[in-house]
C-alpha cells in the first residue's frame, strides 16, 4: 500500500511574475483516481500512496500533522478513516450502515467530529481518540451536517452584556457552551418540507441552538445574525484562532462568503454578483481563500478579511481551478486545476504569482490538503 511513485512533472514552473517566490516545501495529501489517498513531497515531486479506499471528500490533517482523516468506502458503506501517516495504521470510525462524512479535528487533535447519515437526516457524532468512544452530540438531533469546531471563548465573549432574563434555558445553554472544552458549529436543516433552508447552529453534547434563535431572543447582538433563516448556509470554517467564522450563504440573491464575529457582527467579504464559495482561512487568519466565478470559469481567489479586497490566485481561460489549501507558512496555495485538460494539483506563490504543477498523470488528482507544520 505504501507504493512510491514519482510525479511526472516535478514542479514545472508555469508562471513567474514580479518578486522572487518562496521555496516550495512541505507535503500535500490529495486524492488520485477517485480512491487513492496520496502524499506528495512538494519540493521533490515524489508521491507516496497512503491508502486505496478514499472517496468523496478532501482529506483533513490533524493539527499536529500526524494523522489524516478521510472518508472511506468499502463493502460495508462509507466511514471515516483515521490514518497514522508515520506507520500507515488506521482506525475505522463512524456509524455502521450510515454514510459518515465531513470529519473535523478538534483544535487539540483529541477528537474528531463528523456527520452520520444522509442529507437532512444526518446527525453530528464525535469520536474521542483516547477512549475510542463515539458520542452523538445534540442528543442525536437530526438535520445537522458539516461540523466545525469553535473556540468556547467566543461564546463567553458574546455573553458579556447580554440580557438573559427572559430566556433562562438559552442562557443555561450558552453558559454550558462557554464552560465547555469543546463546542461545535454545524450547518443544520431548518424550514419546512416544502421550503427547506439551513442555519448555523451552536452544538454541544446535549443540545443544538440556531444562532438566529439566540439573536431573536436578544441574547446575541442582531449584528451577529448570519441570516434571517430564509437563506441556505453552507461551508462553515472556523478562524484558526477561533475568533470568528467564515461561511457561505445565498443571502442577498447569490452565494457570497460572510465572516461572522459574534461581537462585531457579520460582513459580506466577497460581494460580487457571481457565485463565491468554499472559504478557507489562511494560517494567520488574515486572509480567506475561496472559489469564485467572477471571471467566468471557476477560479481561486483570496480576500483580506480586514479590507475585503480581493486578489486572484488561479484564474485560467477555458478551465477551472478549485479546492484551495494554504501552505503552513501561508506563502503558497495548492489547488486543483483543469488547465492541462484533466484535474491536476498546482500551487501558486501568492506574493510572486509563480505557479508550479505538482502532479501530472492521466487520472484525476484532486483535493489537495497541505500538511501542517512541515513547510
Amino acid at each position: 500500500m505504501m507504493a512510491l511513485r514519482i510525479s511526472l512533472a516535478v514542479a514545472v514552473c508555469l508562471v513567474g511574475v514580479g518578486c522572487r517566490a518562496v521555496e516550495l516545501t512541505g507535503e500535500v495529501a490529495f486524492v488520485s483516481d477517485g480512491q487513492r489517498l496520496c502524499l506528495l513531497n512538494a519540493g521533490r515531486g515524489t508521491v507516496r500512496e497512503l491508502a486505496s479506499d478514499a472517496c468523496g471528500e478532501a482529506p483533513v490533517w490533524s493539527p499536529d500533522g500526524e494523522w489524516i482523516a478521510y472518508t472511506s468506502r468499502d463493502s460495508e458503506g462509507t466511514s471515516i478513516r483515521l490514518l497514522a501517516v508515520h506507520d500507515g495504521s488506521s482506525r475505522k470510525v463512524g456509524r455502521p450502515g450510515m454514510v459518515n462524512r465531513a470529519p473535523r479535528w478538534s483544535p487539540d487533535g483529541k477528537k474528531v467530529a463528523y456527520a452520520a447519515g444522509s442529507g437532512v437526516e444526518a446527525g453530528i457524532w464525535v469520536y474521542d481518540l483516547e477512549s475510542g468512544r463515539e458520542t452523538p452530540w445534540a442528543q442525536g438531533r437530526p438535520g445537522l451536517m458539516r461540523p466545525a469546531w469553535l473556540n468556547p471563548r467566543v461564546i463567553y465573549e458574546a455573553l458579556v452584556g447580554g440580557d438573559f432574563s427572559e430566556h433562562p434555558d438559552l442562557a443555561a445553554f450558552l453558559e454550558a457552551a462557554a464552560k465547555s472544552n469543546a463546542v461545535l458549529l454545524a450547518v443544520g436543516a431548518t424550514g419546512s418540507a416544502e421550503k427547506p433552508s439551513s442555519d448555523i447552529f451552536i452544538v454541544i453534547e446535549d443540545r443544538a441552538v440556531a444562532i438566529p434563535d439566540l439573536v431573536a431572543a436578544g441574547i446575541i447582538s442582531e449584528r451577529a445574525i448570519p441570516s434571517s433563516g430564509a437563506y441556505v448556509e453552507w461551508g462553515v470554517e472556523q478562524h484558526p484562532k477561533g475568533k470568528k467564522i467564515a461561511f457561505e450563504s445565498n443571502d442577498g440573491g447569490d452565494r457570497e462568503i460572510f465572516v461572522l464575529d459574534f461581537v462585531k457582527g457579520t460582513i459580506d467579504i466577497t460581494n460580487h454578483r457571481a457565485a463565491d464559495w468554499n472559504p478557507v482561512w489562511s494560517p494567520d487568519g488574515k486572509w480567506v481563500a475561496f472559489e469564485s466565478f467572477r471571471d467566468g470559469r471557476c477560479g481561486v481567489y483570496r480576500v483580506y478579511a480586514g479590507t475585503v479586497r480581493v486578489f486572484p490566485i488561479a484564474v485560467t481561460p477555458d478551465s477551472d481551478n478549485w479546492g484551495p489549501s494554504w501552505s503552513p507558512d501561508g506563502h503558497w496555495v495548492a489547488y486543483t486545476s483543469t488547465r492541462t485538460g484533466n484535474p491536476e494539483i498546482f500551487a501558486t506563490d501568492i506574493a510572486s504569482g509563480m505557479t508550479k504543477q505538482l502532479t501530472d498523470h492521466l487520472g484525476d488528482d484532486i483535493a489537495p490538503a497541505w500538511r501542517p507544520g512541515r513547510s
Binding site: 472517496c55 427547506p196 472559489e291 467566468g296 483543469t338 485538460g341
Partner: protein, 342 residues
C-alpha cells in the same frame, strides 16, 4: 488562439469513418449522438475536436461545408464554432471532421436541423435501459429497440435518456446501446448511471459530463449524480447553469435523485439558481412517488421508471412550464415492448 479555417469543402479528401473501430469517439468529441446539436438553418454548431479540422454536414442526400473558426482548449483540444448554411434543409445530419492531414471522422446523428422550434412540444424521458452485453444482451436490446421504435412513431421532439444506459459499463455494452440509439430519428441526449461509469469509459463513447444543450428557447443540463463532490463537476455545473440562464426553461436530468446528493450539487441545481425541472430514473423495486416533488421548494422533480420495463415518460413543454403529460399509470406492465406514459 483563434484562426479562421477556410470553408473549403474537402469533400473528397479522405475516406470518412464513424468513430474509432471500437466505437469510441475519434476526432469529434462533441456533438455526438448522445450530446447532439439541435439548430435552425443558419444556426451555430459548437464542436470540440481532438484535432483542428474543417467541418461538413452529411445527410439528407448531400454534404454541406460549414464555415468555422477554432481556438485551442486545455489538453490539446480545439473548440470549433461552425455556422450552418442558411439554406440547410431540415433533417438529421452526421458531422464530419476533416483534419489537414489524416483520416476524416464522422459523428453520426450529431446535428439536427429544424425549420423552427415550436412554442409547445413534447419531450420524452427514459431511464435505465440497462442494455447488456454478450449473451445477456438479447432481452434488454429487444426492449431498447422497441422503446426507440415507439419514440420514432411517437410525438416527442427529443428524448432525454438517464443512465444506467448499460448493464455493466463495458465497451461491448456501449456498442450495443449505440447500435440501437442510432436508429432513433429524434435527438437523443444521454447521461451516465453508476453502472455506466463502473469501468471508467463512458466519456470515451459520449464525451464529458456535465454538459448543456439548447433546444430552441429551452436548455437541457445533463449531469452525473454519482460524480465525486471533489471533482470538476460542480464548478462546471455552475458555469453551465449560468450559461443557460437566459433559457425559457432549464431542465436537468441524471441517474438518481437522493436527498443525500452532494450538497454543492444541490445548491447549484436547486437552491442558488434553481433549474425549473429535473428528471431522474428510479430504482427497480422502488416505485416513484405518486406525485412530483420539489426539493428546496423550487425545482420540480419527477422520476421515471425503468425503460427496461417499458416506461416512457412524456412531458409537455410550453409557455406554462414543463408538465408531465400523462397521468400516473397503473402498475407497470411486465410485457416486453409495452410502453406507456407515466
Amino acid at each position: 488562439m483563434t484562426r479562421r479555417i477556410a470553408a473549403l469543402a474537402l469533400l473528397m479528401a479522405a475516406t470518412a469513418s464513424a468513430r474509432q473501430p471500437d466505437g469510441t469517439l475519434d476526432v469529434i468529441v462533441t456533438p455526438n449522438s448522445g450530446q447532439p446539436a439541435v439548430v435552425t438553418p443558419g444556426g451555430v454548431v459548437e464542436a470540440v475536436l481532438t484535432q483542428e479540422a474543417a467541418l461538413q454536414l452529411v445527410g439528407e442526400g448531400r454534404t454541406l461545408a460549414v464555415a468555422s473558426e477554432s481556438r485551442t482548449l486545455p489538453g490539446g483540444r480545439f473548440a470549433v464554432r461552425g455556422t450552418l448554411p442558411a439554406d440547410t434543409p431540415p433533417g438529421s445530419y452526421d458531422l464530419q471532421a476533416t483534419p489537414d492531414s489524416g483520416r476524416s471522422d464522422v459523428s453520426s446523428r450529431a446535428v439536427f436541423v429544424r425549420a423552427a422550434f415550436d412554442e409547445y412540444y413534447l419531450l420524452a424521458h427514459i431511464a435505465d435501459t440497462r442494455v447488456g452485453a454478450g449473451e445477456d444482451a438479447g432481452a434488454s436490446l429487444d426492449m431498447f429497440r422497441q422503446t426507440i421504435d415507439a419514440l420514432n412513431d411517437g410525438p416527442a421532439s427529443a428524448v432525454l435518456i438517464s443512465g444506467d444506459l448499460t448493464a455493466d459499463g463495458s465497451a461491448e455494452a456501449f456498442r450495443a446501446f449505440l447500435g440501437v440509439l442510432d436508429t432513433c430519428r429524434i435527438p437523443t441526449f444521454v447521461t451516465p448511471g453508476s453502472r455506466d461509469q463502473s469501468q471508467g469509459i463512458y466519456s470515451r463513447f459520449f464525451g464529458p459530463v456535465p454538459y448543456a444543450a439548447s433546444f430552441g428557447e429551452d436548455a437541457f443540463l445533463g449531469f452525473d449524480t454519482e460524480a465525486s463532490p471533489l471533482g470538476p463537476q460542480d464548478a462546471r455545473l455552475q458555469v453551465l447553469r449560468r450559461e443557460v440562464k437566459p433559457a425559457r426553461w432549464a431542465i436537468a436530468f441524471g441517474h438518481r435523485y437522493r436527498a443525500g446528493m452532494p450538497m454543492r450539487t444541490q445548491l447549484v441545481l436547486f437552491v442558488d439558481d434553481p433549474v425549473d425541472h429535473a428528471l431522474f430514473g428510479v430504482s427497480a423495486g422502488n416505485p416513484p412517488p405518486s406525485a412530483e416533488f420539489s426539493p428546496w421548494g423550487t425545482t420540480t422533480v419527477s422520476l421515471t421508471r425503468s425503460a427496461a420495463k417499458g416506461f416512457i415518460k412524456l412531458l409537455g413543454v410550453s409557455l406554462r412550464g414543463v408538465q408531465v403529460r400523462e397521468p400516473a399509470p397503473e402498475a407497470p406492465s411486465p410485457d416486453i415492448g409495452q410502453t406507456t406514459g407515466e
